[in-house]
Symmetry: C2
Subunit: 490 residues, 2 copies
């Protein structure tokens, strides 16, 4: 707790790495690219899971579980998919170790070589569509709407905690439908679920749109995405939902007989969010003092710290606080009453600040006499002496206010950092010096997209649903169907 | 749904396999030894998880997540552990594939060979104690009480759905303590949590005890277990809790400074239950018609089936049923109202019977006129015409009664099939012809245990906590400190 974090303005990247460590969220393991998610970080992820899981069930999805291993040959069944996913992945080649010759270690047993190598799943479309093939015969078997919470592995050389790790946790939804329209509606519905979660729980505004062809999921006909802006102006793709067309149905030969008995290929979607959301959450709200959490996702919403000398004073304060704690808990507020004798109040204040606890209540002997308590909010760092009478309701209201304030604050920041430009020179200037999102016209070709990326490092984050104004491409002068959003991205 | 299950009395093993398929619980995947847990099966597992997770948190544990990969060298750090776990496991040797020469598939890229092979975790003691080493310096850092919900892989050649699969889902608790006494108390507490869960939710009675040295977890000083009896008299180890002594602390050199500043090795426990519990649940209660579920773990507790001709009748019945459904849901009962027009009532009756739904309510035009409804319970297959007035409360009571009845029934069966024997001849006779658990004296040596196993296939399932009667070993005549329980086991 002793050392301060690097300031965001000095080095945003160091600030992030230090914060993840100091707030006890995660750490690197000795296994290259794999992280350890520590209890406090995991508690936040659990809250995310719980809320999302309920939303998936409300929209008619069931959880299931498919094997972690995918036979190597499956990956090449869908042509686009293999290019996107079959390359950087963990390959299991053997199924046994044996004691080495010196007897003090183990070596791979060369006799235990697999006939066909297994890939640790980078995503599960192939293994799931192999199952769907067995489950689907008739229109009566459709739709199938499944979700899986799982770990996946994509080998990465340069990793950052939560943002890019070789192993990460995620959910992947996989659905099968009788019609194209139903599958598209499903993909769009799940994008809305993600956007709603981002805004109303993470307090993180997002822009909904389509990916360009070059940024599309490998095997998708269309990729929908939500894009968020981090405090350094860079974009973070927070969730994607894919309309897969009949690509996987064709690759795994999955057909159904419709009401007239005609055989048709099935239509598909898949959609996912991952522990990357933890990185997005951190980089949307936190400050130079540490983590800032929206109350809706805070494992501890209120930390209550008695300030006392001796057991008698503690007993007196505790007695006074008990009904407040009970009232808060009854209202669903998660409270930590920290009367740990081994730590001083100042240490605790710093601890809860670093960990982003939204509200802190401190009360000492003099406050008690005056019928007051000190309430501090983490988002603005305001402190107020408030009447002890009714402090429970004050805190409940304050938690709502903090949730709202965080969304408004990040929305204001985001909106201030979306800039329309009309020439490529202006574009380069803004991307280089101001950052943020740039709204500009583009001719719709991969060539121009590639050129812009090579020259500026900015990519097209999405083609927003709302954008319909026609124009001309800032680079080529060719016609454009509407502005798209460019940014440097995580 | 058409074909009947093989009868248990004819072939218990076929009955089990067919039931798992027909009740839509799980199926084999194309990946050797890996199963697909289907939505209905997964919904039961989710209920188990939810209940257990709450109990772990109540007893002060936090969830966290550690890497799926373990460096090969870690496995050999704890000598006993490597013998138990390092052998049959999935070994990752490469991190990249590349397109093959003909361009229509992928091959392992020989240039992407890992310097040190990675093992897909068979259990996580080694990787977790490597982290604990960084987290623990002083007595203030203790205890650490962590749980992880994860997938693990132990290569198996002969697999059975839920009971023995290469990949399975489980939870693994890992704790670190300042004293031996505290670690032992933790291991015992978690065994009690498991036993409570087995009896009060799974309705499955268990015997608590210690494993013999030869059946102990690799790396443990003591393994506590709960043993359940399946309907065929075989034993199933339903959960284990290990007192690990200082073995892993020594292997990973994890010390803490106590209040006097003295350096001590840390004391440890680990404990786990897995998707194997699904197999135990099935084999404890189910019958020749299909799955039988205790209400506490049933995803659907009540299936309500309207019997009608035409929309007008359906509307009338639905109107009458709506307040009943609402009342049940308000009381936390999960209800499925099945008015699907594509299936006939008889088909639905069979479906819910196969899937083990505890209570079925059917109501038709004549019942409506008479103010009655037909309520069927799955456990005894009793059907009753009951007054429609108050049927909601009748069902709530019936669910409690079914939960109780299932526990009593399995307890009676279990108790009737535990037999005390006093000679080895009698032992062999009982094991061969009657099965069940046999309570007998044993001299405490691994040699005798091994001999009995080789000659009868029965193993010592546990040394029950309750057994204190001294005697003489049935095989060698040497002194015995108390009877132990033998059985053939899953
Ligand atoms: Zn086809
Ligand atoms: Zn040591």
């Amino acid at each position: 707790m002793a050392q301060k974090l690097t300031k965001r303005s000095e080095d945003y990247s160091s600030w992030y790495n230090e914060l993840v460590g100091k707030a006890d969220l995660a750490e690197h393991s000795d296994v290259r690219g794999c992280m350890v998610i520590k209890p406090y970080g995991f508690a936040i992820w659990e809250k995310m899971k719980e809320i999302l899981d309920a939303k998936f069930k409300e929209t008619g999805h069931s959880n299931a579980y498919f094997p972690i291993f995918i036979p190597k040959s499956y990956l090449s069944k869908e042509a686009a998919h293999v290019d996107g996913f079959a390359k950087e992945c963990a390959v299991v080649t053997h199924y046994r170790l044996k004691t080495n010759e010196t007897g003090d270690g183990v070596v791979v047993d060369p006799d235990a070589k697999l006939e066909e190598e297994l890939i640790v799943r980078p995503t599960s479309e192939t293994i799931i569509w192999n199952s769907f093939g067995k489950w689907i015969q008739s229109y009566r078997d459709l739709p199938i709407k499944i979700n899986q919470w799982a770990n996946v592995v994509r080998w990465e050389l340069r990793t950052r905690l939560f943002l890019r790790t070789a192993e990460f946790l995620w959910q992947e939804g996989h659905t099968a439908h009788a019609t194209k329209a139903e599958a598209i509606a499903e993909a769009e519905q799940m994008l809305d679920v993600y956007a709603d979660f981002a805004e109303n729980y993470m307090a993180m505004p997002v822009i909904k749109g389509l990916k360009t062809e070059s940024e599309r999921f490998a095997g998708a006909d269309e990729t929908y995405c939500i894009e968020a802006m981090m405090q350094d102006g860079k974009a973070l793709q927070a969730g994607t939902s894919h309309f897969l067309g009949q690509n996987f149905a064709k690759a795994f030969d999955v057909k159904f007989s419709d009401k007239e008995g005609k055989q048709e290929h099935v239509w598909a979607t898949s959609w996912g969010v991952s522990t990357r959301l933890m990185g997005a959450l951190i980089m949307t709200h936190s400050d130079d003092e540490g983590l800032v959490l929206p109350p809706a996702l805070a494992p501890i919403q209120v930390a209550i710290i008695p300030i006392y000398k001796g057991e008698e004073q503690l007993a007196e304060i505790t007695e006074k606080l008990t009904p407040v704690i009970e009232s808060l808990r009854k209202q669903g507020v998660s409270v930590k009453f920290d009367d740990d004798d081994n730590r001083r109040p100042g240490w605790k204040f710093a601890e809860y600040e670093t960990k982003g606890v939204p509200v802190r209540l401190a009360i000492g002997q003099r406050d008690l006499a005056n019928g007051k308590a000190e309430v501090a909010r983490r988002d603005t760092k305001e402190k107020n002496l408030v009447d002890f009478e009714g402090v429970d309701q004050y805190i409940v209201n304050l938690l709502n206010e903090i949730q709202e304030n965080l969304l408004n604050r990040s929305k204001t920041f985001r909106d201030e950092n979306i800039r329309e430009v009309n020439s490529y020179d202006e574009f380069k200037e803004v991307i280089e010096n101001k950052g943020g999102f740039v709204s500009a016209h583009w001719d719709g070709t991969m060539e121009t997209e590639e050129q812009i990326k090579n020259e500026t490092k900015a990519t097209i984050r999405c083609i927003p649903f709302t954008e319909k104004e026609e124009g001309v491409c800032m680079v080529t002068g060719k016609p454009s169907k509407g502005r798209v959003l460019f940014a440097k991205a995580y």
